[in-house]
């Protein structure tokens, strides 16, 4: 019909005879009129989710199981290494970030920054169980790692020596050594089930004592093994806090050691100490130009 909004007028004349306001259809004008009449048209709309045979992966065989376990163990040990950066700053909240990005700027903006401003106020109050939480590193701890410097470009050498820290934070590096990971297993679901079964069988109580004894042993051992380094650190650093939060592997053993609520945690209520905590993020106090990206 005419696009100018007029139904009627001259258009009506051309449209053929009208019957009660509807146009009469000529006998053979519709496409389906010519088809054979036996056909029954299926007027149903297509199914929104038609049945679909989901292909199922075969169960891994023994060799593949082994390969997967080795990979997972490797990954776990990687995460244990001082070169691993724990922090995930990538904002995964879909509601606030657009899924699609255009250009590098937007991608960069996705990586949220962790600074005083981004602290989650609801979880920021120190709690007892936080001492068991993994200490997360925002920068790899290069100072304890022995590098083969000749294979690094010269511009990175200072960083490798741990001299890339701002002056007030710089700490003397201890003896460098390549620590082999202590993690020897990555739990599989089956392991957990087996464990559970064993637990239910009632063996648990007897082992309790032995476990405790073992733990004690470990502690003694670790202290003897890492005693030298410990002494070194505490000798250099007046600031206890730095030692506890930034010290490398011994942070973990410290956490394990302080089973009881010791005097360290008294600092929780020290307001100044509390705000100092923000300094922990290494993004902010970065060498020459850290601040400008995060203000």
């Amino acid at each position: 019909m005419s696009g100018r909004g007029g139904r009627g007028g001259r258009g009506r004349g051309r449209g053929g005879p009208m019957m009660n306001g509807r146009r009469a259809v000529a006998a053979n004008s519709t496409p389906w009129a010519t088809m054979d009449t036996g056909i029954e048209l299926d007027g149903k709309p297509a199914e929104l989710f038609p049945p679909y045979k989901v292909p199922k992966a075969p169960v891994p065989n023994k060799k593949e199981e082994k390969q997967i376990s080795y990979f997972l163990l490797f990954r776990e040990q990687c995460h244990d290494s001082p070169l691993y950066t724990h922090s995930r700053t990538w904002v995964q909240d879909r509601s606030t970030t657009n899924k699609r990005t255009y250009g590098q700027d937007q991608i960069n903006r996705r990586y949220g920054q962790s600074s005083e401003a981004t602290v989650d106020a609801f979880n920021a109050v120190p709690t007892y169980s936080q001492q068991f939480q993994q200490t997360s590193r925002t920068l790899p701890d290069l100072s304890s790692w022995p590098f083969a410097k000749e294979f690094f470009p010269p511009e990175l050498h200072a960083t490798l020596d741990g001299e890339d820290e701002p002056a007030n934070k710089r700490r003397k590096t201890g003896p460098k050594s390549l620590g082999l990971s202590n993690i020897t297993s990555y739990k599989t679901a089956e392991d957990l089930e087996m464990e559970a079964a064993a637990e239910q069988a009632g063996g648990g109580a007897e082992h309790e004592d032995i476990n405790k004894a073992l733990e004690l042993l470990n502690r003694v051992e670790k202290n003897t093994a890492e005693g030298g380094e410990d002494g070194f650190l505490s000798g250099e650093d007046d600031d206890d806090w730095v030692k506890n939060n930034e010290g490398d592997e011994d942070a973990e053993s410290n956490a394990a050691d302080s089973d009881e609520y010791d005097d360290e945690s008294g600092d929780d209520y020290n307001a100044e100490q509390y705000f100092d905590e923000g300094d922990n993020d290494d993004y902010d106090d970065g060498g020459e130009d850290g601040g400008q990206y995060y203000d």
């Binding site: 390969q67 080795y70 691993y84 950066t85 850290g290």
Partner: protein, 663 residues
């Protein structure tokens, strides 16, 4: 080298993220996106503070994920991403499993630590192991003092925090470690880092080129003869640079004992054998820096895949024989694919000529416990045509003539057309070869085959297996001379690739689709109108199937106009099937599938964030069952299960990718 597509780039940065954390992965993905850049450029791209950037770069470099190039000794470095190494992270599990099954648990432990620490100075590795050994010794001493002896059963419960006891210490002493490293270097699985290790291939090429022009051709390269000479010098220079990483291996071999020791290593039980050899190993220079050689690893993985392939086709025993042969042949093969520039031109180099292994050598290294009579049919001798048996032996001289052609074809592409031309060549050469080899037949087969009725000696059985392998359409083995066997990797791998592709096609388009593809492969290009007659299917069915497969990228169509003025109705439509193109398609799909796996894992982690953070707590770790609430624990174990499944899928996809791309 590796063609980096968007999906591959995404996959690699996800893999780096998974293993080494977010910071390196961000830098890595930018490097992939922007290509070669300096630190200041990277800073601009990533909007990171430069201190953070430098730390990230250091980590990447430590893990061998970067190339860098210096124009001036103290100038800024140009960084480039090492995609191969990043991708190989997904193969870590396979590599470790492979090392364990071939070299034993100690080698696996060393390999794992090398993979963990990236490039490592020998001295540092030694020191780390020494520390571990000392600690274990102390623990043992303490144990004895305290009188706690039977603690084995608690080990599992407390495993994570508890240092290894002397009894389960894998590397027992630094001499042991030394010998394990020597062994791995001899197997080329460990490489030496040298000055040019971290330069890209192009940079090395350029420096070598410059050097050669300056020293040998100051006036420029003129004329055909000079050009050939120049190419030869260039290849030699490149080979020399590449060979530097093997210098340690050569040194070990010069020591003279290497080959003998290797034999002991193979024959004896792994734990028992090591003891005797430790002393004879030269002490490695502690200043040397070593790293894992992924190229050789993929050669080893390829061998395993081929043995698997043979076992799918023939069965276990035959594939075992094949495994022994392949091990002998690939022993000194540094990489899966030859570099066209470096390898092909050196005529004197042994790289070109695949190693031939005699039947006796294979027989010597077969375990006696293997019963070779299994897996062989025993037809009546009268039913075996003499001509056919004779023909088997004939293969040697005839094939020798076109080795070069065969390997070149295999390397360049696996195209259908070339395959058929191959066939013709074979037929053409066949006649003269016949007369050549007759003597050989009389000499060897004549004496052995007829008299014994059923009982075959071991050697004959072995030969039967090898004949079986060489006669198969996949051409696993080539009978290169009287009683000598070799493998042409080109044709076997083409067959492997085709079978992998077939599996994918069957899975996506059904058996009918696979049948159509097979017909197309056999016939080359086919007109649309000729298809129904040949295929014996209804025209509409064919069209539907072909369209489906075209969408999936397995078949392609070409329009050829009949007249200069193209008319759709009159022109021919030729269907064809291009393995290379469908290979790219399948690769891309696999990359996407892998990326998807990683993304699913990320989402799962996000969902189970609270559970995971609980399980990572130092007091909970290792005692999840005791300390976690039941609901939490169930969620945790469910997460672990799905994680394993996802990685399983990842590795399956990698298997396909490896077969299509890397082998």
């Amino acid at each position: 080298m590796l063609q980096v597509t968007t999906s591959l780039a995404e996959l690699c940065s996800l893999l780096v993220d998974e293993t080494y954390g977010e910071l390196p992965s961000r830098i890595f993905s930018i490097l992939l996106k922007k290509g070669r850049s300096t630190a200041s450029q990277l800073k601009e791209y990533t909007a990171m503070p430069s201190r953070q950037l430098r730390h990230g770069l250091a980590v990447l470099q430590q893990h061998n994920l970067l190339y860098y190039h210096l124009d001036k000794p103290n100038g800024p470095a140009f960084y480039e991403a090492n995609v191969e190494h990043a991708y190989n992270l997904v193969r870590v599990g396979k590599i470790l499993e492979m090392v364990e099954s071939t070299f034993g648990a100690p080698a696996k432990d060393v390999m794992q630590n090398l993979l963990l620490s990236g490039q490592t100075r020998v001295a540092d590795l030694m020191a780390a192991y020494q520390e571990k050994i000392d600690r274990a010794n102390n623990a043992k001493a303490l144990d004895e003092e305290l009188g706690i002896t039977s603690l084995e059963d608690t080990d599992g419960v407390n495993g994570d925090s508890h240092p290894a006891k002397k009894s389960d210490l894998i590397i027992k002493s630094s001499a042991h470690l030394n010998s394990v490293i020597c062994r791995l270097i001899e197997a080329e699985l460990i490489d030496l880092c040298h000055a040019k290790t971290y330069e890209t291939y192009d940079d090395i090429y350029e420096t070598v080129e410059k050097e050669i022009t300056a020293t040998h051709f100051p006036g420029g390269v003129k004329g055909g003869k000079q050009k050939a000479d120049y190419q030869k010098k260039l290849a030699e220079g490149l080979r020399q640079v590449r060979g530097e990483s093997k210098s340690l291996k050569r040194k070990l071999e010069q020591n003279g004992l290497a080959s003998k020791r290797r034999k002991i290593f193979q024959d004896l039980d792994l734990n028992g054998g090591v003891k005797q050899e430790e002393d004879s190993d030269p002490v490695l220079d502690p200043r040397q820096v070593i790293r894992v050689n992924y190229e050789k690893c993929s050669v080893e993985l390829r061998s395993r895949r081929l043995v698997q392939f043979a076992s799918d086709v023939f069965g276990d025993i035959t594939s075992y024989v094949y495994g022994v042969l392949i091990k002998k042949i690939t022993k000194d093969m540094p990489r899966c694919r030859l570099d066209p520039l470096v390898d092909v031109q050196g005529e004197d180099d042994e790289v070109n000529e695949p190693l031939a292994v005699s039947t006796d050598e294979i027989l010597d290294s077969l375990k006696t416990s293997i019963d070779l009579s299994i897996g062989l049919g025993k037809p009546d001798w009268s039913k075996i045509s003499a001509a056919a048996t004779a023909r088997v032996v004939e293969h040697a001289p005839k094939k020798k003539l076109h080795i070069e052609g065969a390997t070149a074809v295999g390397d360049a592409s696996s195209d259908e057309g070339e395959d058929s031309s191959d066939e013709e060549e074979v037929d053409g050469d066949y006649k003269p070869a016949m007369t050549n080899g007759v003597n050989g037949v009389n000499g060897m087969n004549g004496t052995k085959v007829p008299p014994k009725e059923r009982k075959m000696d071991r050697r004959t059985q072995l030969r039967q297996h090898l004949f079986l392998l060489s006669e198969s359409p996949q051409s696993f083995v080539r009978h290169s001379g009287p009683d000598e066997w070799t493998i042409d990797f080109g044709p076997v791998l083409t067959a492997l690739r085709e079978s992998e592709l077939d599996a994918v096609i069957e899975e996506t388009c059904g058996t009918q689709g696979l049948r159509l593809v097979h017909i197309l492969r056999a016939n080359g290009k086919l007109d649309e109108k000729a298809l129904p007659n040949l295929v014996l299917m209804r025209k509409s069915d064919i069209q539907q199937k072909m369209l489906e497969m075209q969408r999936a990228g397995f078949v392609h169509v070409q329009e050829v106009p009949r007249e200069p003025k193209a008319d759709v109705k009159k022109s021919f439509f030729l269907w064809f099937c291009d393995v290379a193109m469908s290979k790219d398609q399948v690769l891309d799909t696999s990359y996407r599938a892998m990326v998807h796996c990683m993304q699913v894992l990320g989402t799962l982690r996000e969902q189970e964030k609270d559970v995971l953070s609980t399980s990572k707590r130092t007091d909970v770790r290792g005692r999840e069952q005791e300390l976690m609430r039941k609901e939490y624990f169930e969620r945790y174990s469910h997460f672990l299960k799905s994680e394993r499944m996802l990685f399983h899928q990842l590795m399956k996809a990698d298997e396909l990718i490896a077969a299509l791309r890397d082998y």
